[in-house]
Symmetry: C2
Subunit: 107 residues, 2 copies
């Protein structure tokens, strides 16, 4: 219920790249876009998708993938959670919703 706050320019910058848009789009429905043999369906839905899966799907190198994910994270569009060796990323649906709402009513 708390109003999320965000930096408009950083948000739009994060979104103005094809690869980062793809990642966000894939994470909207992870189980249809990522290999469910390599990561469990429930885990994808609950904690997010690990960097290796995103990297393979993106077909860019590990460094680029990691940097893009942290750009998305700094903008607030995704959240990261480390469990053991893995870092899982998932979308911040509330922020994306608020962004749509901002564009509709305030921009």
């Amino acid at each position: 219920m708390t109003k999320i706050q965000f930096n408009q320019v950083d948000l739009f910058k994060a979104l103005s790249n094809e690869a980062r848009l793809k990642i966000l789009y894939w994470l909207k429905d992870p189980t249809t876009h990522f290999d469910t043999k390599r990561q469990a369906i429930e885990e994808m839905n609950e904690v997010g998708v690990c960097v290796s899966l995103i990297r393979d799907k993106l077909e860019m190198n590990q460094s680029t993938t990691s940097q893009y994910l942290s750009t998305l994270q700094r903008a607030g569009l995704v959240e990261a959670r480390r469990i053991g060796k893995w870092t899982y990323y998932k979308r911040n649906e509330q922020l994306i919703h608020e962004l749509a709402n901002f564009i509709e009513t305030k921009l």
Copy 2:
């Protein structure tokens, strides 16, 4: 009623700049943001706001202002109309609405 089509990356790039966001925001309600002694209220609402007024409010030079306006125009966010010496810019409300809708449902 026709579905507007747009390039997501170009749109987000156009929006990822403080000055261009300001212009868009001012053009949402031109008569409260621009000098109605220098341009008639009805004209602002109907054909848009001329570059000089935008330039003065933006406090950037003429060249920068003109370039930013054409960036917004190429992205489809504003429309330009030349009348005599002046070029008037106004928002493309439909595209902005479709963008909000896209973020809410597709992104």
